[in-house]
């Protein structure tokens, strides 16, 4: 009964109610969408880290993580892997031999972590194989004993790339929004080689102003980059005996994960080759990496492994990169704050509207009281009205939000043109996919309801304080 009256009351002043509903709807939409983008960003970072960098679980010799000491290795990684593979929740296992090395190309050097991998197992745990750049060669194969897989940033640092306005580069650039004039200048530079990012940028600065060049460089770089595959890299490192060791490799492939820091400091070669160069036992490994079937059972699986190998260090990805987990949680807390502020501001609009509604209906409320409607019912009526008003707007906003999230999630929001390099520098993907989970949705719904209730108290109390006699006389 009260519900029907309240609902009808809302629509007595259609425009006024609609204004509030639209305000709440837009507020909710903005809030939900921003939250989805923020959560999506954090989630992508986590997925990236899990898929390319960490895996779910890693096992080390105690102390290895402190200083990456080459001597903290497992003697027989193969038998450990075989044993771990029998655990129920374990999907795939691989191992890595890791040394801290110096990479030298002709005239340039860079410090890296050189990992020896088993290509077949590696691709089951990590998706680095899918991250090979366009025209960036191929993933390591078992017969490529002198091949090395390097990150794109490392390739740039070692000057193993060049930039060229080739036929395909020009057609790519034409699809981006460069003016015809600029494209025609690019065409005059066809087949001229730019040896470094610096050279390319200097050229851009001659044809456009600095600000434009700064934003254009990223696009032009991506379109024109060419990798010097098969070029030599020399790695130097300290072997297990403490002697200076190393080897020559040729670039087999170039990958790009989207996290520049990772790409600048990780190179991969075949494990059996590296093991020999580092004077390690044949089946040695520094880390064992596990991908799980169900990541929610991570703690249980960790406990199982710790039971079997009690003298090792088993770490979950959260323990290894607590930052990632913290970031995820922080994003959510920020989001809640953000929504709370929106709702707080909206609540004033709602209170205002309801106060006006009561002022308008003073006589009516007085009449209802006079004919015997209890104060409690009056209070409930006003409250229901307010909550319904808010909820209608909120539902509309959420529906709108869901539709837009679904629409943008399939293709993602591409920020690469504006901030791609900066985002990659921080380890974030340049294409954002907004996501929002059921838990987050429910929390937001609860917040909206709470706002509705809080906003209704003041107008409802105001109505209660009316004196029926005075109210009836009011004009």
């Amino acid at each position: 009964m009260i519900f029907q009256i309240a609902w009808k009351n809302i629509w007595r002043s259609r425009i006024r109610s609609l204004v509030v509903i639209v305000a709440v709807a837009l507020g909710m939409f903005g809030g939900i969408y921003t939250v989805a983008v923020m959560l999506g960003m954090a989630d992508q970072r986590v997925q990236m880290a899990l898929g390319n960098e960490l895996g779910h679980l890693q096992i080390y010799q105690p102390g290895y993580r402190d200083n990456n000491d080459i001597l903290h290795f497992f003697n027989d990684a193969d038998s450990m892997i075989n044993r771990i593979e029998t655990i129920e929740n374990v999907a795939h296992v691989t191992h890595r031999v890791r040394v801290q090395a110096m990479a030298n190309s002709a005239g340039y050097t860079s410090g890296v972590i050189l990992s020896g991998i088993n290509p077949e197992k590696e691709v089951q745990v990590f998706n680095l194989k899918d991250k090979i750049c366009v025209d960036g060669g191929e993933f390591l194969t078992n017969d490529n004993t002198r091949g090395v897989l390097i990150g794109r940033k490392l390739a740039e640092n070692l000057r193993l790339v060049y930039y060229e306005f080739s036929e395909s580069a020009l057609s790519n650039l034409e699809e981006l929004n460069f003016s015809d004039e600029i494209i025609s200048i690019f065409k005059t530079k066809k087949d001229e080689v730019f040896r470094s990012e610096k050279e390319l940028k200097e050229f851009l600065m001659t044809i456009m102003d600095e600000e434009k060049a700064n934003t254009a460089i990223y696009k032009v770089e991506n379109a024109t980059i060419k990798f010097k595959l098969r070029n030599k890299i020399r790695f130097q490192f300290q072997d297990a005996r403490g002697d200076l060791s190393g080897g020559m490799y040729r670039v087999a492939g170039v990958y790009q994960t989207g996290n520049n820091m990772y790409d600048a400091s990780n190179a991969f070669v075949l494990d059996d080759v590296l093991v020999k160069q580092a004077s390690l036992p044949e089946r040695a490994a520094h880390e064992i990496i596990i991908r799980l079937k169900d990541s929610d059972l991570i703690d249980e699986t960790k406990a199982q492994i710790s039971d079997i190998y009690s003298d090792t260090e088993t770490k979950t990805w959260i323990e290894m990169e607590p930052m990632l987990k913290t970031m995820n949680d922080m994003m959510w807390v920020f989001s809640l704050f953000f929504i709370a502020i929106i709702l707080f501001a909206l609540s004033f609009g709602i209170i205002n509207t309801m106060l006006m509604a009561i002022l308008e209906r003073t006589r009516e409320i007085g009449m209802l009281m006079a004919v015997g409607m209890s104060r409690k019912r009056i209070f409930n009526m006003i409250m229901t009205e307010t909550i319904m008003l808010t909820a209608t707007g909120a539902v509309a906003g959420m529906i709108l939000g869901s539709i837009v999230i679904a629409a943008t999630a399939s293709n993602g929001i591409d920020l690469s043109a504006m901030y791609g390099d900066g985002l990659a520098e921080m380890g974030f993907s340049a294409v954002l996919t907004p996501v929002i989970g059921a838990r987050e949705y429910l929390m937001i719904v609860a917040l909206v309801l709470a706002t509705g209730i809080l906003a209704s108290i003041y107008p409802a109390r105001k109505a209660l304080k009316l004196n029926p006699v005075a109210a009836l006389r009011a004009e």
Binding site: Q100, A101, M102, N104, S105, A106, G107, T109, G111, R159, Y162, R195, S196, K228, N231, K232, I233, R234, Q236, F237, Q238, D243, L244, S245, G246, G247, M248
Partner: protein, 250 residues
């Protein structure tokens, strides 16, 4: 008749080619011996590191014995004075009196510039040999610094631990002085140039007394080393090149 002609022609070609290659290798070997083949040496040097925004001068003394022992003492600037570097075989140590620390230079430091210069620790360690690790060919003759020089092209052997694509060396015909080296990457781009200047007689030997190293792709950067005095073949005990002596030497 014709066949004999052809065969002898082929033989001649092969033979002459081998002689040429042998010659080039021999020239490089002699030049290599000349630059570091003495039994021992004592050198005082001043190194100038030129950067776009500043110049830095570092003076040091250096003792060497054979190819694999050397001891270097920094004598100025005051900040670095007393630092010593010891090289034995393929290991290198650094003693820093300010912090009283002896460190063995790790692999990760081998590619860094020595004392902030364009010379890397790796250059000083000099692991690869310009004689053994390359195949050599005389590709021309040029006059450098008033000396008639062979221009020799060095191509690294397949298994050599060398990142260069090729090296060009200019070696004087009469005295086998290395007057100019150019280092190229695998695409044939010039990455680094070394020049020797001011050839004069020092302790009875003709040598360039000033070297400069120019990283070609860094604008306004180079490193110049000037030899102030040099003495050859004094007797040094093996114990002279020890960690104890690193702390004592003045």
């Amino acid at each position: 008749m014709n066949r004999i002609k052809t065969v002898s022609l082929i033989l001649m070609l092969i033979f002459s080619h081998q002689v040429m290659a042998q010659d080039a290798k021999e020239i490089v070997r002699k030049a290599d011996e000349r630059s570091q083949g003495e039994k021992s040496s004592y050198t005082e040097m001043v190194m100038t590191v030129v950067r776009p925004s500043y110049d830095r001068k570092i003076s040091f003394k250096s003792w060497t014995k054979g190819k694999d022992k050397s001891l270097t003492l920094i004598t100025s600037p005051a900040r670095d004075k007393g630092q010593t570097f010891l090289k034995r075989g393929n290991e290198m140590w650094n003693w820093n009196p300010v912090i009283s620390r002896m460190i063995k230079l790790p692999a990760s430091m081998m590619s860094q510039g020595w004392m902030g210069s364009d010379f890397t620790n790796d250059d000083i360690m000099n692991e690869s040999s310009i004689v053994v690790d390359y195949s050599h060919k005389v590709v021309g003759e040029e006059i450098i610094e008033g000396f008639e020089c062979y221009k020799i092209e060095l191509i690294p052997n397949a298994e050599a631990e060398v990142v260069w694509g090729k090296i060009h060396m200019w070696i004087s015909k009469n005295d086998f002085l290395m007057l100019k080296n150019q280092y190229f990457d695998e695409d044939g781009y010039l990455i680094r140039t070394e020049n020797g200047y001011d050839v004069r007689e020092m302790d009875g030997r003709l040598l360039p007394s000033r070297f400069e190293l120019i990283p070609e792709e860094e604008d306004g950067q180079k490193t110049i080393v000037e030899i102030i005095t040099i003495k050859f073949n004094d007797e040094y005990d093996d114990r002279f090149f020890s960690q104890q002596n690193m702390k004592r030497i003045k």
